[in-house]
Symmetry: C2
Subunit: 201 residues, 2 copies
Amino acid sequence: MTDTNPSRTALGRPRRSSRDTLQDAACELFLEVGYERTTVDEIARRAGVSRASFFNYFRAKSDVLWADVDPALAELPRILELLTDRLPPTVAVRAVLVEVAALLPVAPAALVERATTGAAAEAAVAGLDRMLMVRVALRRYLSGRSTAPAEALDGFAAAATAVAASAGVAWLDAGSARQPLADAVDAALAPVCAGYAPLLD
Amino acid sequence: MTDTNPSRTALGRPRRSSRDTLQDAACELFLEVGYERTTVDEIARRAGVSRASFFNYFRAKSDVLWADVDPALAELPRILELLTDRLPPTVAVRAVLVEVAALLPVAPAALVERATTGAAAEAAVAGLDRMLMVRVALRRYLSGRSTAPAEALDGFAAAATAVAASAGVAWLDAGSARQPLADAVDAALAPVCAGYAPLLD
DNA sequence: TATCTTTGTTGGACCGCGTCTAGAAATGAG
DNA sequence: CTCATTTCTAGACGCGGTCCAACAAAGATA
């Protein structure tokens, strides 16, 4: 994948730009003229690179909005693998989501400002895509780790993901009174885990 | 909105086509050449109408996939309004979602075949949009009908929606062994309501 | 130094969705 | 017949996203 690790001797032509500079340019434009009215062309031009190169750094324009969150989400499968199997499924899932949340110490500006930049709809759609990935990852983890029927595993994976995302949205919109996301996710998952624990554990 | 009711004396030029014929043409093409390789132009042409007219009947190409579900979802706000206020929030929400599910006696073909037509991704994205609408509607209903903190209301709305959707997906994929969606939704909501009832009711 | 390999960049072309507009067509009403 | 209303149509546009062939910048090799 996108190996941003420069430890290995750089072979080939060095990169002219970076995700960070592209993201900065994009966020500036989002705040200046709004998300919709900002074209990929303008983002690339401000970053001093061609439009085609933008897509070397981001799969889509909306990925800029989630650039600060995706690294954390990418850790989820790793965290799931490194998990001891002795935990009850509900507490394991809860702990994993809390751990991922802890990887986000500060709220991503692009998402916090999504309302003022008119990117709310796009951010939501792109975010739902991420939810789907999380849900699938959790569902795979639960497979075989519980004797509960598949419908229960589906439901718990879906509910846990949705509730965690809901806590994330509230966290983004909390403004100055923002507290650690991990705590909010943990608290939000309590009722869901309470409801499913009798079925899964 | 799109007033398909022909009871009122039709004024102006009569419609040349209908959502149903457009949908039929589209689904045929989806099965023949796949969702991605089917253009809106081809759909419209097969239905004997111009491309521009397609967008008089559907907001987007992906809306065809959800054409059979949207009328049921559209009833949700109405059902919420007509609900007696004496019910505990969790049982009210559960009953409403079950009632909406009951409006779908047969599984929509376009969604059932989404895998074979290569429309799975698009269907998921468009479906997440619908989930968002449901979640918002439920959240609005819960406002003021419970003394629980806002985070709990957010969580329950998100969880209930996600679990109902999860049951819907399982229902679509159940094939010949498909049972009424309403029953599946009711069962799926049980653990969620059990978890949130102590907080909301 | 010259060449090879690898990786990034660039411009341009292409496709298709979704939007918009101006005008034409089809109907009922007055 | 004329008018108001509604729909249809052709065409253009903008933009996101994909693709490709050519070019550029480095290290590696000799």
